[in-house]
């Protein structure tokens, strides 16, 4: 049946729907700059959302943990082999995506007998001019680059709301603490549906869009801190070290929680 173009297109369309449905509950991961680098934040029920990939590259992922792990290992392998064979300066997200991951993801997605990757990824990098760059990668290999920061979320509407708020905020001049706090506020605001949107959804009987509330996922920061784990990955330039990545410790996260909840 797959020899017929229409059926192939139909199968691809079904795959898109399937993957989107599977990713729908994926919690937002936000990547934004700050005055000394870049930061990625995300809440999740289980740890394992934000990772270090290479000296100046960090990854935030959502989707099936096994797929996140598989692609994380692929990125690690590519980055380290390239860094060893050439130089760490040749390891950039753009190269990893354009000549490595994106074509492979697309091919995998379009080979319809194979299981698709249930994943969205956000990559952050401090480039060799010390600028922060952010990349969003979709399960089908489509990727975009952002300077001001970006978000991935299983819910498209949440993603759009958060992206708009990121675009409206001047993160580059904020300190690390201020950037994280602003990103957390945006996380919270992004999850709340505007009143107008709620009304229109009720009237069109699109009850799926209200699932977050029905399923009882945390909708505010207080609840999120209580029930989930916050992960914060930081890329800080000018440290004097070649590896720029670090994370917030448990005590730092507790301190952050008291500041934000207050």
């Amino acid at each position: 049946m797959f020899e017929e173009p229409f059926r192939w297109m139909e199968a691809i369309s079904t795959r898109h729907s399937y993957v989107r449905e599977k990713l729908r509950k994926g919690q937002p991961v936000i990547g934004v700059p700050y005055n000394e680098g870049a930061v990625i934040i995300g809440f999740s029920p289980q740890p394992g959302k934000i990772f270090e990939i290479y000296d100046r590259i960090a990854l935030g992922g959502l989707g099936h943990p096994a797929d996140v792990e598989r692609l994380r290992m692929t990125l690690l392998d590519m980055a380290h082999a390239e860094g060893f064979n050439r130089s760490s300066k040749d390891v950039t997200i753009e190269r990893l995506l354009q000549f490595g991951l994106a074509p492979a993801l697309k091919q995998n997605f379009e080979e319809i007998q194979r299981a698709p990757y249930l994943i969205q990824m956000l990559l952050a990098e401090i480039n060799h001019e010390d600028g922060a760059e952010f990349f969003r990668v979709n399960y089908d290999g489509y990727w975009e680059k952002f300077k001001q920061g970006t978000v991935i979320s299983g819910d498209k509407k949440v993603s759009e709301r958060i992206q708009k708020k990121i675009d409206d905020t001047d993160f580059v001049s904020c300190t690390l603490n201020k950037s994280i706090q602003s990103a957390l506020r945006i996380w919270e605001e992004g999850r709340k549906k505007p009143a107008l949107e709620k009304e229109s959804l009720k009237s069109t009987d699109d009850s799926d869009e209200l699932d977050d509330e029905i399923e009882g996922h945390p909708t505010d920061l207080k609840e999120a801190f209580e029930r989930w784990n916050l992960e914060v990955g930081i890329l800080k330039k000018n440290t004097g070290r070649k590896c720029l990545y670090s994370t917030l410790s448990e005590s730092e996260i507790s301190a952050l929680q008291s500041e934000v909840i207050r």
């Binding site: 590519m78 082999a81 000549f99 490595g100």
Partner: protein, 266 residues
């Protein structure tokens, strides 16, 4: 750039990744006869010893080929990761490659396994590289005999190791030196440790740095393959310390002051 997606290789072993991708260096060169005399070219002096806050590692800057001085600004003390340093004596091409491989190995493990490799694992990793290199060493084109200094953040203690070219590792509790200039200074190190103003392990960072400069200057006096400092050209030995803060090199401007005071009799 990308290989098959299907398999997950999750051992965290960078050497395995290099072998899998066909990038692991050649271990035997064809058409070269064995080095029956087992001579390891080691035109250098590197030394390390425990001091009060950790370990000091120092090396001269000269690279030679036979009687020729090839280069006078060679860095023989190489950071591997935030908490470890390697000082190299032997064939530079192999030694630098080993340092790069080790560095990637530790970082790859830490990033893939989400935890740092143990100190024992790191010590063994260098030993394995040396074992893999035995054939090249026996051919006389790749012999390396390094020093390895590491701070263990779990045990809150610094460890120092010396390796022979076959990969045997020896933990050093006080001091060690290797390279062609080392015989000239091993006795001084021992003398200083036993009968100096204090044992090496009790010395301050300033005292340890100053002693390292004097030792390298002494080695250079008697060994033509060890380079002397040339303050007029801002050329000083490479000296690094490894403590609970990780590794730190003494910067050149600081070296100028320490060198000057070290060269006067005190």
């Amino acid at each position: 750039m990308i290989e098959k997606f299907e398999k997950i290789h999750s051992s965290g072993d960078f050497i395995e990744l290099l072998k899998r991708s066909g990038n692991y260096p050649q271990q035997v060169l064809s058409g070269i006869s064995n080095n029956k005399a087992l001579e390891i070219p080691q035109g250098t002096t590197v030394l390390a010893f425990h001091y009060r806050d950790g370990i000091i590692v120092a090396g001269d800057r000269r690279a030679t080929a036979g009687n020729s001085i090839m280069y006078d600004r060679c860095d023989k003390v190489i950071p591997i990761d935030d908490y470890s340093l390697m000082a190299i004596a032997g064939v530079p091409a192999t030694a630098f490659e080993m340092a790069r491989m080790l560095s990637h190995n530790f970082e790859y493990y830490r990033r893939s396994q989400l935890r740092a490799m143990s100190t024992e694992g790191k010590v063994r990793a260098l030993s394995k590289l040396l074992k893999d290199n035995v054939a090249m060493a026996l051919q006389g084109v790749g012999g390396v005999s390094p020093l390895f200094a590491i701070y263990d953040t779990q045990q809150e203690k610094a460890f120092l190791y010396f390796y022979d070219m076959l990969g045997a590792e020896f933990q050093i509790l006080t001091h060690v030196a290797t390279g062609s200039g080392s015989p000239m200074i091993k006795g001084i190190l021992e003398h200083e440790n036993l009968w100096g103003i204090s044992s090496l392990g009790e010395r301050s960072e300033e005292e340890a740095t100053s002693l390292s400069i004097r030792l390298l200057q002494t080695a250079a006096q008697f060994d033509s393959a060890t380079g002397q400092a040339r303050p007029e050209d801002k050329l000083y030995p490479t000296i690094a310390k490894i403590t609970k803060e990780g590794y730190q090199f003494i910067p050149d401007d600081e070296m100028a002051t320490i060198y000057k005071s070290s060269m006067s009799r005190s």
